[in-house]
């Protein structure tokens, strides 16, 4: 779908409490456009709890249940079961989309149990993790999604551990649909939400959400940083359905050799949270470690891609 075909209706109303350049509200706009009005929303404790604006008004124009931090998956199970009852009784003509909107703290850390439980029950809902790679709402503390070497207020010299990969954990649950998305690729994101809407069962979409105050870059660079993340291989775009992973948009182009990986240094230099890797002196070791990991992943994917093409050639060759 092209941008001009996106619905015009805004279900996130202007004049909210979101920071300038907020990736959360930017992501919500695209998601809501793809899902439409027939959606029940639950917002799990996160920046979105705040930027929807305080009582007695709200920037969210969908029926919304704000819920406690660790409840995302379970809330969806309750909403979905009740919606099934209302459909069975004829109160609702069709089942609304159940959408849970959570941050990386509510997904990677405190909420992973409820999410895993809901996925195992194959609760019929879309779970969105907008991942700003830290507890931004409480002032940027490390989370399970914070990348290696990133500064946060409780990893002042850079996080010592590598982030975990919840999208892959969700793939391992065998749910019908898992996708990752980037703000810089709105048509790719929109298509993934539209695809998710068509499917029944647990669907998981994770959006990388570069946070200007948390990651320390100017508010005008939200999209630029999101794009660099994909171009450098720090964030990968794919969708997983029927046991098969398909890489999409910028990530697909790199794997297929249409574009080259941007050195990760460019991505790191764009953000103050990695500033200590460059000042007062260059931290070759950690920059090298990060680049090496990315290279390893992409070399493998590129090799697999070439092998597949090669195998296809053999299969398609006419019999002699």
């Amino acid at each position: 779908m092209r941008l001009k075909d996106f619905p015009e209706e805004e279900l996130f109303l202007q004049g909210s409490a979101a920071c300038q350049g907020c990736p959360g509200s930017a992501a919500i706009r695209v998601a809501f456009k793809a899902l439409g009005r027939n959606t029940i929303l639950s917002v799990i404790a996160s920046c979105t709890s705040v930027f929807q604006s305080p009582f007695p008004v709200s920037a969210l124009d969908l029926p919304t249940l704000n819920m406690a931090f660790a409840t995302g998956g379970a809330t969806a199970s309750g909403l979905s079961a009740a919606a099934d009852r209302l459909v069975a009784k004829g109160v609702l003509k069709e089942k609304p989309t159940i959408l849970v909107w959570a941050g990386d703290g509510g997904t990677y850390d405190i909420g992973i149990q409820a999410l895993s439980g809901a996925a195992e029950r194959n609760t019929d809902f879309i779970y969105v993790c907008y991942n700003n790679e830290a507890y931004s709402n409480t002032g940027t503390q490390r989370s399970g999604a914070t990348p290696y070497a990133a500064w946060t207020t409780n990893t002042t010299r850079g996080k010592g551990e590598w982030r975990k990969d919840v999208a892959q954990i969700m793939v391992a649950h065998g749910i019908p649909y898992v996708a990752t998305a980037s703000l810089a690729y709105p048509t790719d994101m929109f298509r993934k939400f539209a695809r998710a809407k068509e499917i029944k069962g647990t669907r998981y979409i994770e959006i990388q959400a570069p946070c200007p105050p948390g990651w320390k870059f100017p508010s005008s660079h939200t999209i630029k940083v999101a794009r660099l993340a994909v171009q450098s291989g720090m964030w990968m775009l794919y969708e997983h359905e029927n046991g098969k992973t398909t890489y999409t948009a910028g990530t697909q182009r790199i794997i297929q050799g249409q574009s080259k990986l941007v050195p990760v240094e460019e991505y790191l230099r764009a953000q103050g949270r990695f500033g200590h890797l460059f000042h007062p002196e260059r931290d070759e070791k950690r920059i090298g470690e990060i680049q090496e990991r990315i290279n390893h992943v992409f070399e493998t994917l590129q090799f697999t891609h070439k092998m597949k093409e090669h195998i296809m050639d053999i299969e398609l060759a006419p019999p002699r």
């Binding site: 909210s16 409490a17 979101a18 300038q20 350049g21 007695p56 008004v57 920037a59 999209i223």
Partner: protein, 94 residues
């Protein structure tokens, strides 16, 4: 606030934390702005990237900028592939 929604709120006759969807839920956020986006309509090819990237839904599909709510983040100017939007220091409001 649309009438329909106000009515729904009034029907709830007891106190609980129910909020009504509203534009300007924290007021006219245009007052947050230091730099203001200015569109050069001649250069604009209506690619709609600014429309979809704006985190505050302040640019219409007709590329009209809503200065009441634009927070001045500068994403539209940064992302415009034609350089049709520039950020200029806002005149001090009276």
């Amino acid at each position: 606030m649309p009438k329909r929604k106000r009515k729904a709120a009034e029907e709830i006759g007891f106190v609980t934390t129910l909020s009504v969807p509203s534009e300007g839920s924290v007021g006219l956020t245009g007052s947050w702005r230091i730099f203001v986006p200015v569109l050069d309509a001649e250069r604009c090819n209506k690619c709609l990237l600014c429309w979809i990237y704006c985190p505050e839904a302040c640019i219409g599909k007709d590329i009209r900028i809503d200065y009441d709510y634009c927070k001045g983040c500068g994403i539209c100017a940064e992302e415009c592939p034609r350089g049709a939007i520039t950020m200029v220091k806002e005149e001090k409001k009276q």
